[in-house]
Structures are given as structure tokens and as C-alpha cells.
């Protein structure tokens, strides 16, 4: 992170701050009943809400950047240019 340009560093710091704010909010841990899972049951609330978009992004970023995977197992390859 030390090598980040100040503007990007600012962006990352903001995201991390947002993450911790959200996490703090979210960590109001509650054991919820099945009938209270209405919000998390929405399509848009799924961890992988759009598998085809996920596929496309994996294709792009795994062929344009050195790292692979992280969110799931990524086998197989391509002669990506």
C-alpha cells in the first residue's frame, strides 16, 4: 500500500473506513428467525447475485491482472491475451 499514489491511497482508505463503519453497524449480531430473513432473501442480496456477470468479470480480470480468484475456486485457463 505504500506505493499507492495519494489519490488512490485516499480511495482505499475511504473504502476501508466504509468497510469498518458497515462492519460496526453490521456487527450488531442478532440471531434472526426465518421469517425475519425477508431482506437477505432478495435476489440482490445474494453473495453472487449475478453469476453471468461474475463469469465475465473473472474472464476480464484474470486475463488482465496477475492475481486469480479469491471469491471462489477458479480452475481452467485460457490463452488469454
Amino acid at each position: 500500500m505504500r506505493s499507492l499514489h495519494p489519490k488512490k491511497y485516499f480511495f482505499v482508505i475511504n473504502c476501508l473506513c466504509l468497510f469498518f463503519i458497515l462492519l460496526t453497524t453490521a456487527c450488531d449480531y442478532q440471531r434472526i428467525k426465518p421469517w425475519h430473513r425477508d431482506i437477505l432473501s432478495q435476489d440482490r442480496a445474494q453473495l453472487v447475485s449475478d453469476t453471468l456477470e461474475f463469469d465475465a468479470d473473472e474472464h476480464i480480470y484474470s486475463s488482465k491482472e496477475a492475481p486469480k480468484g479469491g471469491q471462489g475456486i477458479g480452475g481452467g485457463g485460457c490463452g488469454c491475451n
Binding site: E53, F54, G72, C78
Partner: protein
């Protein structure tokens, strides 16, 4: 109750990812209450780089519910790729340079322009995934896939096991995937770190590599509005890991020009790679928005380190419409064997001493592929979704910029345009 999002619907390149992601999504699937017989999805994506690569990708996915909440997913992928890809040669500002393409054609690259190889390829792939819930909240997802293109084929399989705990507040996942890839470079397989000036020094033999990936993950419902996911991934690559179309320039340290008779060498990468990453994602519902924020730290034994932050903000609109903003930032540190160019001659102030090489063939590894270098990537975009009773349609438009941290390569500008249609029967 079956959630269509659970179904392992991965594309070829990421075919195996589907299994894990689907399982990881299981922490919420059990919550969903919609019955679906068949879900069919189709997406078309145009990825276009300015003056470089263009990819037109089409994916069709069909998921069928079977008895006892089992699902079977078939996916078909067709890609068309064309354009010009950087071949690794250093940009020469003072003179025109001549490069030899993989097919043996010679091309003049104007002074100050980045050297690229023109290419055209098509890829087709197919995958099948089968997901089955068992007693005591166990779920398995297994899959196989195969893809082929002119100079490359990949085949493999995956297995994921998920376990819901604590009244389905927690889901643990373990997954493993393997792939056997066959590489048959156009024009022959280059001999590593041999002179590439004329396109010779190639062997008429194919190569292969083996991929093994594994993930341990946990997803946790924190409260009525929040979901947390954490993954640890370990991957192993073994075999021919070179890019057969990449070269590295050999320059005279005094003039900065390519050496006559040995201007370029084929690259050489280590024949194994151990990759690890830690991924975390928080999904939180605000009053009128949904925030998804993820962070990945990646590291491997090629000494590549990276940080990736991804932020999505989804706003439900009237009439079941939806708008999603997306921002992504990626920063990576170069591989230990990455070099912009090799030099012959005396050391001077502009050259790193490790890049002065008397005989490049003696190096253990060297690559000038900019994707292994230190770079930033930024993505900004938006997606608009319309829902109907029986289907949903979304379109996204994103801009991607990739910039070399040392400003040695031209900045890459790309546009991603994707349209997806999903229907339930």
C-alpha cells in the same frame, strides 16, 4: 425452497468458481421462497480496449430443478477475440523496430509505439454442474468443464462441500478444483530465453499445465440486514506457465536501441506457482440502498502482492427497476522476474544493475509481460436492471483503466458493455 442463485453456473474460464460461489451463497439461499422449474440466462458482453484487444463473449446458462431440491446446470460459452496484444518488447522512442509475429510475419512498429502482435481466436466451452442438498444441512456441488480454442484447451472438474450451522446463520465451505490445460502455440513452442528476432528457435511440440485450486470459506448472517463472507484460497500451477507469444527486449545500454542480431528473447517463467489470497466481503442493507464491499489480499511465490477493493451500491427504483454503481481498484506489485528489458553493456544511471545481462540464456526466469509488472487498475461503471414478472433484463457499462506504476507502458483504456436476460419457467 430453491434459490436459483445457488446453482453452480460458472463459465468456462471460471467454470469451477461457480461451485464455491454457489455454495457460499447458500447462507442466503435457504431463505428464499421462490420455486423455479427452469431458469435460463443469456449474456452478451463486448470488451473493447482502445487500439488493442476486442472480445465478444456470449454465455447461455440453463438450470433445471430436479427432485429433492437438486439442480443441474449446463452452460455454453462462445468467445470471439481479435485485435492486438502487447508482445512485451520495450517501446523504442528513437527508432522504428521490426517484430516477428507468432505466425512468422514481420511488422514495423513506429518509434514511440508499443509493440503488439495481431491475433484472432475463437473459444468454445461447455460445463455442467450438479448441486445436491443432503441431510443435516450438507450440500455438495460437483462440476466438469471443457473449453477449446485454436492454441489452447482446458478440461477439469470441481467439488464443493457446504455445511449450514447454527440455524443456518453460518455456512462453511470447502472446495477443490483441478484442471489440465493443453497449450499448442501457433507457429510452435518457443525455446525459453532464445533469440526471437526471426521467429525461429521453436519446437513443434505442445505443452501442458495443471491447475489445482482450493478454498475454505465461511459466510455469516450478522443480523437482519448484513451478511459477511471470508475466504482463504490456495492455488497451485504446475507445468508450462510461459506466455508463448511474449518476448523481452535486449537493448544496448549505451544507445537504448535493440542489439542487432539479438533484439528479443522468448520469455521464461518458473514452472510452478503457489498462489494464496484472503477475500472478505460485507453486504449490508441500508434503508434505501444495498452496499457490497469486498477486499482481497493476494500473494504468491512469484512475489506478486496485490490489493483489490470492490464497491457496489445498489438502489432499488420504482416499478422493480434497479440501478447499481460499481467502483473497483486494484494495485499489484511486480513478479520477482519481471523486467521491462534486458541490457548489454555498461551500467548507467537509467538502468537497474540487475537488468545488465551478458547472456540472457543464463537467467533463471525473465518476462516483460506488463500484466506481471507493477500496475494499477480502476473500474467505474453502472448497471441498470428492469424486472418483469417472468424475466429480468440488465445492461451494464463500465470503463476500465490500467496504468503502469513506472509509466513505461501505454495506459490501457477499455469499455465493458454487457446485456443479460434471465427468464424463469
Amino acid at each position: 425452497m430453491v434459490n436459483p442463485q445457488n446453482k453452480p453456473t460458472r463459465s468456462i474460464r471460471a467454470a469451477l468458481s461457480a461451485a464455491t460461489c454457489s455454495l457460499l451463497a447458500l447462507s442466503t439461499p435457504s431463505i428464499k421462497a421462490e420455486e423455479v422449474g427452469i431458469q435460463a440466462s443469456s449474456t452478451s458482453m463486448l470488451y473493447a480496449e482502445y487500439e488493442r484487444v476486442r472480445v465478444f463473449e456470449n454465455i447461455i446458462s440453463v438450470t433445471k430443478e430436479l427432485e429433492n431440491e437438486q439442480t443441474l446446470t449446463a452452460k455454453f460459452v462462445v468467445d470471439v477475440m481479435a485485435g492486438a496484444s502487447p508482445n512485451g518488447a520495450a517501446t523504442i522512442r528513437e527508432a522504428t523496430q521490426t517484430i516477428t509475429s507468432p505466425s512468422g510475419n514481420q511488422t514495423n512498429i513506429a518509434a514511440g509505439k508499443q509493440a503488439t502482435n495481431p491475433f484472432f481466436d475463437q473459444r468454445m466451452g461447455i460445463s455442467f454442474d450438479w448441486s445436491k442438498p443432503w441431510q443435516h444441512y450438507w450440500t455438495t456441488t460437483s462440476g466438469i468443464f471443457y473449453s477449446t480454442e485454436r492454441d489452447y484447451s482446458a478440461s477439469g472438474g470441481s467439488l464443493s462441500i457446504g455445511k449450514d450451522l447454527f440455524n443456518r446463520h453460518t455456512t462453511l465451505t470447502a472446495a477443490i478444483a483441478g484442471s489440465y490445460d493443453h497449450v499448442k502455440p501457433q507457429g510452435g513452442t518457443p525455446i525459453e530465453l532464445r533469440i526471437a528476432d526471426t521467429g525461429n528457435n521453436k519446437l513443434a511440440q505442445s505443452k501442458h499445465k495443471i491447475f489445482v485450486d482450493s478454498v475454505l470459506g465461511v459466510s455469516q448472517i450478522l443480523n437482519r440486514r448484513s451478511l459477511l463472507q471470508i475466504n482463504y484460497s490456495y492455488g497451485l500451477r504446475q507445468g508450462y506457465l510461459n506466455d508463448p507469444y511474449k518476448v523481452i527486449s535486449y537493448l544496448d545500454s549505451g544507445t537504448g536501441l535493440p542489439r542487432i542480431g539479438s533484439k528479443y528473447y522468448y520469455e521464461k517463467r518458473p514452472d510452478s506457482r503457489k498462489m494464496q489470497s484472503i477475500y472478505s466481503r460485507l453486504l449490508h442493507h441500508l434503508k434505501n440502498h444495498i452496499v457490497s464491499l469486498s477486499y482481497r489480499y493476494y500473494f504468491d511465490d512469484w512475489k506478486i502482492r496485490s490489493h483489490t477493493v470492490d464497491l457496489k451500491l445498489t438502489t432499488p427504483l420504482k416499478n422493480q427497476h434497479e440501478l447499481q454503481w460499481h467502483a473497483r481498484m486494484h494495485s499489484q506489485q511486480q513478479a520477482y522476474f519481471y523486467r521491462y528489458a534486458l541490457y548489454n553493456g555498461n551500467l548507467n544511471a537509467d538502468i537497474n544493475s540487475r537488468d545488465i545481462v551478458v547472456n540472457p540464456a543464463t537467467l533463471n526466469a525473465a518476462s516483460a509481460d506488463y500484466r506481471l509488472g507493477s500496475l494499477y487498475s480502476y473500474t467505474l461503471g453502472a448497471k441498470y436492471k428492469i424486472r418483469f414478472k417472468w424475466a429480468e433484463i440488465d445492461t451494464r457499462l463500465e470503463y476500465l483503466q490500467q496504468r503502469d506504476k513506472n509509466n513505461l507502458f501505454a495506459t490501457l483504456h477499455a469499455v465493458i458493455l454487457q446485456m443479460t436476460v434471465k427468464a424463469k419457467f
